[in-house]
Amino acid sequence: MRTRDTAARAARPARRRPRVPLALLLPAGLGLLFLVLPLVGLLARAPWTTLPQRLAQPGVLTALWLSLQTATLATLLCVLLGVPLAWLLARVEFPGRRLVRALVTVPLVLPPVVGGVALLLVFGRRGLLGSWLDATFGVTLPFTTAGVVLAEAFVAMPFLVIAVEGALRGADPRYEEAAATLGAGRWTTFTHVTLPLVAPGVAAGAVLCWARALGEFGATITFAGNYPGRTQTMPLAVYLALETDLPAAIVLSLILLTVSVAILAGLRDRWVGAP
């Protein structure tokens, strides 16, 4: 980070380096500090000496791997269903659109455990849909890895939908008109013009979605249970560790954090870059 450096240079005309006004730099720095300081607190308290042995515990890597897998699958599911939903909300006028838009935020406001209960009520073995699924296809979702994906997707989807809708509303619809005059139907326009234009927004939404899914706990443990190797993701492992051993919980959290930050930082800029 060279933000302070940047601030110092702002005073005199500098070559090329854009000057950053203090009125922006100050709150930005404060915001960053606010987000990162707690992490520093955790790092300071982490029992570094025991780290290798904790990492070596077999359950940890399994949980980490499961977390990454399920969060990625959940993000895929969210993108598949959420981007069209965001498009519908941004581009099609229909009665009750405002209500639908507000309803999309439901899983955000719902305490995740209640969300898990709600999922059980619908997809559980005795749920509205779950009983039918079970009877017809012999499929039960709760307490399976698929259930974890479902719970994470439920909790994380609003992030994608709302971020993508915001991006769509900021995009110029006249490019879509131009595509139409060239013979592109709405679907082709969507895939060939709209999506590439809002790619940064979709990327931002997917990052939010993935990170939220990775950290999901309440809905997962309620809907999918806490079975090591099958439904025990890192946050669940952290929860159990909290029961007995705060430092262990901190270490597990840090492992999860490090991996996710590394993955996100490793994603090439152009994934998030403007076209």
């Binding site: 006249r174 490019y175 008109e177 131009a178 595509a179 139409a180 005059t181 060239l182 013979g183 592109a184 139907g185 709405r186 082709t188 326009t189 060939h192 013009v193 590439p196 234009l197 790619a199 076209p275």
Partner: protein
């Protein structure tokens, strides 16, 4: 028109306070130039034709197919209309290279990727941008971008071609080349073309017929010769470079305000009189001799105009006069100066209003 029109439209559309109401017929192979002052509704008309702005009333029929008929609740969306549009601000897809922008249309028409690109490459070549094929729109200069937009619209070979000032950003030389290319293309084009332009030369060169709109209404229509000879509004008069006045005619004389002008033509009733600025001669004192139309005037402005000077005159009628720099020096023309203006009757044309 003898052939049944390929395009038959009565465009009625609203845009907040602005109302468009234009009747339009274009035969197969015909090129119509749509002219009019800024804000006259030219772009709005094009948008209505393309299906981007639904009609409030009227109708729009292309090649026998109703594309928009509010009374029958019939409306064909843009993507199913056989149109091609050059937008006034291009609207090139920012994420696609020039080549893929042009290939976009052919792809939608079912060409496979390489065929579409081949076709796009041909068009880029024709507008002189073969080298820029791999650039993205933001990496193009204004005139380059406009030519890509033109290529993109032509590449779909539409039945109805809508061009919104397609040459405005081109440099003089490229403009001639591109206009020639366009002329060649339109010569072989079997569809209908509507060309919006502010350049009378473009209109005269490319179009078979002119349509002048003002305030959303058609004010004059006809081929270049008739429009140029007999402008019916101030806009058209300025476009073709004539002084235009409206008055009441009685034989060879037309009464305009307090002034009576003698014209070459015979008209009775409401009439226009028109004469070119170059036909107006200025004199320091009342001239004797042949000019029948003579009146005192005050100079309100002098501007360079090509090799000559254009002099704005106030008086019983407001006119522009073109004089040579030598004449101007001789007359010591300056704003406020009083002179006599004279126009020969032979150069003064009158026609019914």
């Amino acid at each position: 028109m003898t052939a049944p029109p390929l395009l038959d439209a009565h465009l009625v559309a609203d845009r907040d306070a602005f109302q468009l109401d234009v009747r339009l017929r274009i035969a197969a192979g015909e090129v119509v130039a749509l002219l009019g002052p800024n804000g006259a509704g030219k772009t709005t008309a094009l948008r209505a034709l393309a299906g981007l702005h639904p009609l409030a009333a009227g109708h729009l029929t292309l090649d026998g197919v109703d594309l928009d008929r509010p009374d029958r609740r019939r409306w064909v969306p843009p993507e199913r209309r056989p149109v091609g549009v050059v937008f006034q601000d291009y609207l090139l897809f920012p994420h696609l290279r020039a080549l893929d922008n042009v290939a976009f249309g052919p792809r939608r028409q079912g060409a496979d990727r390489s065929a579409a690109r081949e076709r796009a490459r041909g068009w880029l070549d024709r507008v002189g941008l073969a080298e820029q094929a791999r650039r993205r729109p933001r990496q193009l200069s204004g005139g380059q971008a406009q030519r890509v937009a033109l290529a993109r619209a032509l590449a779909v070979d539409p039945t109805l071609l809508l061009l919104d000032e397609p040459l405005a950003a081109l440099d003089a030389g490229t403009r001639l080349d591109t206009r020639a290319e366009l002329q060649r293309h339109l010569g072989g084009h079997s569809g209908a073309t509507l060309l919006v332009t502010h350049d009378p030369l473009d209109a005269f060169v490319l179009a078979d017929r002119l349509l002048i709109v003002e305030h959303g209404r058609v004010v004059q229509e006809g081929d270049a010769a008739s429009v140029t000879a007999r402008p019916r509004t101030d806009y058209v008069a300025r476009l073709v470079g004539l002084n235009l006045h409206r008055g009441r005619a009685d034989g060879h004389t037309v009464r305009v305000g307090e002034l009576t002008l003698t014209a070459a033509d015979r008209v009775v009733g409401d009439a226009f009189v028109a004469f070119p600025p170059a036909a107006v001669a200025l004199h320091p004192a009342r001239p004797d001799g042949s000019p029948r139309n003579v009146w005192p005037a005050t100079v309100t402005g002098v501007q360079r105009h090509g090799d000559n000077l254009r002099v704005q005159l106030d008086g019983p009628i407001t006119v522009a006069a073109d004089v040579t720099p030598a004449a101007a020096a001789h007359l010591r023309l300056a704003p406020g100066q009083r002179v006599w203006a004279a126009v020969k009757a032979a150069e003064t044309h009158a026609y019914p209003a």
